[in-house]
Symmetry: C2
């Protein structure tokens, strides 16, 4: 019936549907509980996938009775969508702009570092996104088709002008974006594997710094650029 909001407008402010026609301003209670629930939902959905996650578990993680959770999000699907609205909103605020007049090396380095930083700050978001895509993106299809496609094309064009101006090696710009995307995302998504292989219990800040250094170094050189600084 009410179609999920992610598909329609991924970044809009998510107004809770059960507050329709209100005359009172919605108190803090609403906001606070919404946040608690969404945070719990991120954990639960990331650990078990959409179908595997249960409202009961989300409720427990949030420290609320199941009925109360269902009061805020009338069903599982809406909760999942609201969660992605949240995530995509957070991401969009951080996503780097690049311009033709920027220095290629610096711009790419910033992009890489920003994405690694996002893997550090929002690992759950990254994993949720990955799981959605892997499963065929039933909820994010529209977002990919519109916003994401435009985003990639925009950056690719800029990179292409850099290439045309002989400011970097002639590499496929779209592939380059995928490369940066995947290699940075990897630190969040495959955390367990990385930790296991390196025999560590958990990440430290310097692991991310080290990763970012390595990636900028190799990828920039791979593009015929000198790492800045």
């Amino acid at each position: 019936m009410t179609n999920n909001s992610v598909a329609e407008n991924p970044v809009k402010e998510t107004v809770d549907e059960s507050a329709q026609g209100r005359k009172y301003r919605p108190g803090r209670i609403r906001e606070r509980n919404r946040e608690k629930i969404l945070a719990a939902a991120e954990e639960e959905f990331a650990s078990n996938g959409y179908k595997g996650a249960t409202i009961q578990n989300i409720a427990e993680r949030a420290g609320l009775p199941k009925s109360n959770v269902l009061y805020y999000f009338s069903n599982k699907k809406k909760m999942y969508s609201a969660m992605f609205d949240d995530i995509l909103g957070r991401w969009n605020k951080v996503f780097t702009e690049i311009r033709p007049e920027d220095d290629p090396a610096e711009a790419l380095a910033t992009f890489i570092r920003t994405k690694v930083e996002m893997s550090r700050q929002f690992p759950l978001a990254s994993r949720l996104f990955a799981m959605e895509i892997i499963q065929g993106a039933p909820f994010l299809m529209d977002h990919l088709r519109t916003n994401m496609r435009e985003w990639v094309r925009g950056r690719a064009e800029v990179i292409q002008t850099w290439i045309d101006d002989g400011r970097m090696a002639p590499v496929d710009p779209v592939q380059l974006i995928f490369l940066i995307w995947s290699s940075t995302q990897h630190y969040a998504d495959f955390q367990v594997q990385i930790l296991m292989v390196e025999n560590k219990a958990e990440y430290e800040q310097r692991d991310f710094d080290h990763a970012a250094d390595f990636l900028t170094d190799v990828i920039l050189r791979g593009c015929g650029l000198e790492s800045p600084k």
Copy 2:
């Protein structure tokens, strides 16, 4: 009770537990149905995750009654494990060996191409693996801790000797393996996203060739190497 075989020995021949103490040679029927079921399981688990997958759906995909599926794999967990045994076995057969005396450029190029080819040939396997890791690798933990760790360390050592001999730029070998891993895996795991961004309906062979070319080009140059041939 019977612990999952993946953890114990990822590559062993998976003998079906319900054929114990047989005096007759197990007919082809068994083998054929096992394969049908495991293929169906790959699809179903990859689409819905472990918890989201249902035996009923797997049965339908395999064209068998649910009871029959449960005759071959007495429960869901064993089916999931058997599936990973299968996958890891397939992978291990393809996994590239590298030696100190190899040419770095050629060895790395081969590695990259092999992994891209695996993304093309076994996209479901790749996605299943990714989902497992993202969800914390409850089933593959032991595999990561032993086989995978050794595998990475072995290759990293070889790469390090290349570096020590001045045959390539001094980059962190383990990070380099992660980079290759993630960027190649990406073509299978994020297929939907890539197709959507590039506005294509499905992959063609040349997409993989193009991707492999791009990755070898950029990564090798990033390691201070010339692409071979």
